[in-house]
């Protein structure tokens, strides 16, 4: 697989943009300017960025709450994300929903909802539609390690297997589900051990290596697209912050965090960029662009109107 400089810089852009937007949201949250919960995917950006970059534009993703990167790759604009967090009418849910609970089918994103793993059978259904219509499209469903304990994970993966659907499952194994460590979530060492129950290929990869994620997804997507059915990719990573920003994650051993901090996917990718002799100036250009986009986004969101009260009544049904 040849990943050229342009691709590398694209990955870099989305990695930085994801991290930057989320850091900014954390700041806003601390300033009390964000109501409700605040969920980020710090340290897990390589998974959503690397996988989404491996897809065709019309492939559909069903992301989870650590997948801002995938949304951005699919075309969600930073200002829409900020407006969403601030409950503005210009957000993707027009203030109807908050934080990471959004999506947009015009960009081929199935909106995330809270109940963990619900997106898995839903994504399988999108893949089923593609198969029925003989479209060369695939679906990608994301989930966490904790989500894989839910019945919908089992029912969704099995359905995809039995119907040989064009789908790729990507698991952020970030070793915790809220406060629950993997060892209390399952009695097997890898989430992929669960996925073996369904009869399709599984892989375990380094989730902090954007190129590894890109490569694995590319391969799995090709298999799905050519009628080879589902693949499950377990991405090993670490949740680097609390479950959400109210949570100080004191239940996570500090050494574990330290260990993974050294594996930070962005710093690591910067080393790769340098190894591959991507010009520093190009990297800096990306950094500058990202910073500006983030501030523009905050600006846009803060200037955007809140929805009008009566809009609460709108849109329950399609007409």
């Amino acid at each position: 697989m040849s990943v050229g400089t342009e691709d590398l810089l694209k990955f870099y852009y989305y990695l930085l943009l994801t991290r930057g937007l989320e850091d900014r949201v954390i700041k806003l949250y601390r300033q009390g300017r964000i109501l409700g919960g605040c969920y980020v995917g710090s340290g897990e950006e390589a998974i959503s960025v690397g996988s989404a970059c491996a897809l065709e534009p019309r492939d559909v993703i069903a992301p989870t709450h650590r997948d801002l990167g995938a949304h951005l790759v699919k075309g969600v604009q930073p200002k829409e994300y900020m407006a969403q967090y601030l409950g503005r009418r210009t957000g993707l849910t027009r203030g109807k929903d908050g934080n990471v609970h959004f999506g947009d089918l015009s960009r081929h994103i199935i909106g995330f909802i809270s109940p963990m793993a619900d997106g898995i059978p839903v994504a399988a259904g999108a893949a089923l539609a593609f198969k029925i219509r003989r479209e060369p499209r695939i679906a990608v469903a994301y989930c966490g390690d904790g989500a894989s304990s839910r019945g919908d994970f089992h029912e969704g993966l099995n359905l995809a297997a039995v119907l040989t659907l064009p789908i790729v499952f990507i698991c952020h194994n970030n070793q915790y589900a809220y406060s629950v460590p993997l060892s209390r979530q399952m009695a097997v060492p890898h989430v992929a051990d669960r996925a073996k129950a369904y009869g399709f290929p599984t892989r375990i990869i380094d989730g902090n290596d954007v190129l590894a994620v890109y490569e694995a997804t590319t391969e799995a997507a090709a298999r799905a697209r050519s009628g080879g059915g589902p693949t499950f990719i377990e991405c090993k990573t670490m949740r680097m912050r609390g479950h959400a920003e109210h949570d100080d994650a004191s239940y996570v051993p500090r050494e574990l965090l330290e260990e993974w901090r050294r594996k930070d996917p962005i710093q690591r990718f910067e080393r790769t960029l340098r190894e591959r002799e991507v010009p520093e100036a190009s990297m800096r250009a990306v950094q500058v662009r990202v910073l500006k986009e983030i501030e523009d986004a905050v600006d846009f969101a803060e200037k955007s109107p809140l929805p009008d009260a009566h809009e609460a009544l709108e849109g329950v049904f399609a007409t």
């Binding site: 619900d118 059978p121 999108a126 359905l159």
Partner: protein, 324 residues
């Protein structure tokens, strides 16, 4: 006009919609080669093929979720629950994913869940339930419950064409016990419109599903005694046709609401509340409800007979109201 069963009406609606619109496809347990537990989809596999008549694994949440996903990308899935009782296994997907999606994202979720429901077949607590009120209480869902072949066909077509998730409650007892005429040509009935199945000036009887037949029988008995009952068949439970309900109640001043589902927080509760609020000045008697008691559906005949409302029990309540 030919006379067909309720079951045949449902079959025809499915068949015609699949024939006309290739976005329509079916998901469910044993609906393929077997033709479904009630044989509604017999012959569909042969006609429409395996890709549009999908026998799923035994996993309601999984296949309802899949229907939602397919709907989101432009298909029009119709899911068969083998029995409505198992819809509780897919409850989360229905009320959290399907119901809230359009409100949040303005993207339609055009899908139908067919729920064979109701008692009188000696099928006990797990094959006789009436789940409709759970869904009526969940914003974002439409709920349909026809009582005749004509309505069943026209409303199923409307449900399939509707851009929203629709819970289509088809009464198992009616499958083979309701016969009626349907036009030979194509027709579609609007969701959200009740139908006055019998005109009358003395008492309004509001009901739906299998209780319509029972209500009509009771009304005939009353008529023999000079009491004219107006029977409003709701047909759609959400959105509720309060206009038709209130017009009738304002005319008669007396109301009996009948349903087979448990009473507490059932459809009857909502209708009584609407009437109590909106037609207060027109009431000549308390709004009465006759429903199943607050128990699971029992199996043994004497118990199930006691449990279910029927023509005799309805007539008795109507008499009470008439003499109020």
């Amino acid at each position: 006009m030919e006379e067909i069963t309720y079951l045949e009406a449902i079959r025809q609606a499915l068949w015609e919609e699949m024939d006309q619109d290739e976005r329509v496809f079916l998901l469910g347990e044993d609906i393929g080669a077997y033709g479904g537990a009630f044989k509604i989809t017999k012959g569909f596999l042969e006609k429409f093929g395996e890709e549009r008549v999908i026998d799923t694994p035994l996993a309601e949440s999984g296949f309802v979720g899949a229907a939602i996903g397919a709907a989101l990308v432009g298909m029009r899935p119709v899911v068969e629950m083998q029995f409505a009782d198992f819809i509780s296994c897919a409850f989360d997907q229905i009320v959290n994913m399907a119901a809230k999606h359009h409100y949040r994202l303005r993207e339609p979720v055009p899908m139908v869940i067919r729920a064979p429901y109701g008692g009188r077949l000696h099928a006990g607590p797990f094959h006789s339930q009436c789940p409709e009120a759970w869904f009526v209480h969940s914003p974002g869902l439409k709920v349909v419950a026809p009582s005749t072949p004509y309505d069943a066909k026209g409303l199923l077509k409307a449900s399939i064409r509707d851009p929203n998730p629709v819970i289509y409650c088809e009464h198992k007892y009616l499958y083979r016990h309701a016969k009626g005429e349907v036009p030979s040509g194509e027709y579609v009935l609007p969701l959200g419109e009740a139908d006055v199945k019998r005109q009358g000036s003395d008492i309004t009887l509001i009901t739906y599903g299998a209780m319509v037949q029972q209500g009509l029988e009771a009304a005939d008995q009353m008529s023999a005694q000079g009491i004219e009952v107006e029977l409003v068949d709701l047909r759609t439970l959400y959105p509720l046709d309060t206009e038709t309900i209130l017009a009738s109640v304002k005319k008669t001043g007396k109301t009996l609401i009948v349903h087979e589902a448990p009473q507490v927080c059932g459809i009857g509760a909502e209708i009584a509340a609407v009437i109590a609020q909106e037609a207060f000045r027109h009431l000549d008697a308390p709004v009465m409800r006759l429903t199943a008691p607050h128990t699971p559906v029992p199996f043994s005949s004497p118990l199930e007979d006691f449990y279910l409302p029927n023509a005799a029990k309805i007539a008795s309540k109507l008499k009470d109201l008439a003499s109020y």
